[in-house]
Symmetry: C2
Subunit: 130 residues, 2 copies
DNA sequence: GTCGTAGTTTGACAATCTTCGTAGTACGAC
DNA sequence: GTCGTACTACGAAGATTGTCAAACTACGAC
């Protein structure tokens, strides 16, 4: 089919509605260190981030996969801005659907024994000068 | 080989210490409907339950598998009593390690099964906020 | 001792997941 | 138009997971 007949914004992305978010899907999506890291980074003040800004230790196609899992689980919302795909945590939707869950996970993540994946020598946390 | 050189109590079970419980393991363990059901049942007043008491829709060996996943993740504690293996939620350990996490999951589970959420929007049922 | 109960262990299978590389698309800049 | 950037889609390889049946072990009762 002619996919170019889409709206000018074109690349629309599917998101579950807040009320449709499934608990198993959320837990399953968060049960991966890379996705947990994405969620954690998103929660640290930066409202919207492009995929490239995360500097994940995986290939681009794997990144796409992880972002899609998070999006389809209802954890993040994504939209296009130029060639970039911006991501944002759906904190309010999650809080509404599963009160306290996201906060508990984020809090738990901070309290965890850090495996020093990024090397502890980055207190300022220079997350890419995108 | 001397397989019977085990301790007389024999069947000892490995459990992670409270401080060693991993967030990913917990989330991963809870991201399964059968295990979620086990945890839910354990949280409903019955402190200790034998595996057989759950009436899970799977075979015995699959049950064993799920209980082991929960135990190795640090979510339940198991001990033998006669021929039965009793299970108990490690609520205190989990609360200590990841405050609010288990409570949020259990609460989320109660608010969950609503495939008709579109129609009624469930006004007063699941209260939002803490 | 024998027998039944409760659960484990092993091995197998299919399904799913994570990862990658390659090829492709949409957009912005030139 | 061409080019580069940012990302996607499409397999495919490898690992993990959920499931089962069959054989086994530990315990209690008889």
């Amino acid at each position: 089919m002619p996919r170019s007949t889409r709206a000018v914004q074109g690349r629309q992305l599917e998101h579950p509605e807040a009320g449709q978010i499934q608990l198993e899907a959320v837990l399953s999506a968060l049960a991966d260190p890379i996705r947990l890291r994405i969620v954690h980074d998103l929660s640290q003040g930066h409202e919207d981030m492009a995929c490239i800004a995360f500097e994940l230790p995986v290939s681009k196609s794997t990144s796409t996969h992880h972002f899609r899992v998070l999006r389809e689980a209802g954890i993040i919302r994504q939209y296009y801005e130029g060639t970039s795909r911006m991501s944002r945590l759906r904190e309010q939707d999650l809080q509404e659907r599963f009160p306290g869950l996201l906060a508990a996970v984020l809090n738990a993540q901070d309290a965890r024994p850090s495996p020093d994946r990024d090397t502890a020598a980055t207190p300022g946390r220079d997350r890419v000068g995108s």
